[in-house]
């Protein structure tokens, strides 16, 4: 029973109680993914499963047999930061940095949801073929990722710079 973590096949622990978050942090020592509330409320543990964002603290690792997980450690390639990681630096998208890996993974999953046309609470026209990533949409869709430092303005700016369509 294996799971792919950042391109590497890893054996899933036989105990079904092991959360995906604990597998990452305690078993594999991939401590980039953070444990905030461990109750699914803060978003700090967000990772990507086949490109979709999930909160790993409420995910049992056995659920993800055969799936491909990407954590913050898997985003940089050949020493070059992912463009969104670079944008977070340039826009001061963090202070303490604890929520940052979750913010970045969440944003990458969020953008794919927008591309698929998944509406949010603030989407006005549910029948529209394309959803614009406006400031309201971005903030609503990232509202599951809390930042206690209050760096949300920088976070929104960083995500908008990389993914939002330029104003017409």
């Amino acid at each position: 029973m294996t799971i792919t973590i950042n391109g590497q096949d890893v054996r899933i622990p036989p105990d079904p109680r092991v959360s995906l978050l604990d597998l990452l942090r305690e078993h594999l020592h991939l401590t980039g993914t953070k444990k905030g509330c461990n109750q699914g409320a803060c978003g700090a543990c967000t990772v990507l499963v086949d490109g979709a964002r999930i909160i790993s603290c409420l995910a049992l690792s056995v659920q993800y047999e055969g799936r491909s997980i990407t954590t913050i450690e898997g985003l940089a390639s050949d020493g070059a930061l992912h463009p969104l990681q670079q944008a977070f630096i340039e826009h001061d998208g963090f202070q303490c940095g604890y929520c940052t890996p979750g913010q970045i993974c969440s944003a990458l999953g969020m953008v794919e949801e927008v591309k698929r046309g998944v509406p949010s609470y603030v989407t006005g026209d549910l029948s529209a073929e394309a959803i614009a990533l406006t400031d309201d949409e971005l903030r609503e869709r990232m509202s599951g990722n809390l930042c206690r430092c209050g760096a949300h303005n920088g976070i929104v700016d960083a995500i908008a710079e990389v993914f939002a369509e330029p104003a017409q």
């Binding site: 109680r17 603290c57 049992l60 659920q63 949010s120 609470y121």
Partner: protein, 90 residues
């Protein structure tokens, strides 16, 4: 967390049979079963069951939709055999 077993059901019928076993709970997207098992009532669950792709099966049923504003409390099992329009996007 109290020990439990994990089973992935083969299909919807298999999930219904296994789900009727004593101590079994369904694990589905959007539930908070895992955090509840850590604290509030850990002794009540001895096995959990997952049916991968069940939402895709449900999506194939006409007039039955699960959407962003669907309230989980209205999603009763009887709705699967007697689908009604449950989604209000207005």
């Amino acid at each position: 967390m109290t020990p439990f077993s994990y089973t992935r059901a083969a299909d919807a019928a298999d999930a219904i049979v296994r789900g009727s076993a004593t101590g079994a709970k369904y694990l589905g997207g959007g539930t908070n079963l895992v955090d509840l098992m850590r604290g509030v009532s850990p002794a009540t669950v001895s096995r959990i069951l997952e049916r991968a792709g069940l939402s895709r099966d449900l999506a194939a049923i006409d007039e039955f939709q699960i959407g962003a504003r669907q309230l989980p409390s209205t999603l009763q099992p009887k709705s699967i055999s007697a689908p009604e329009s449950l989604l209000d996007l207005g």
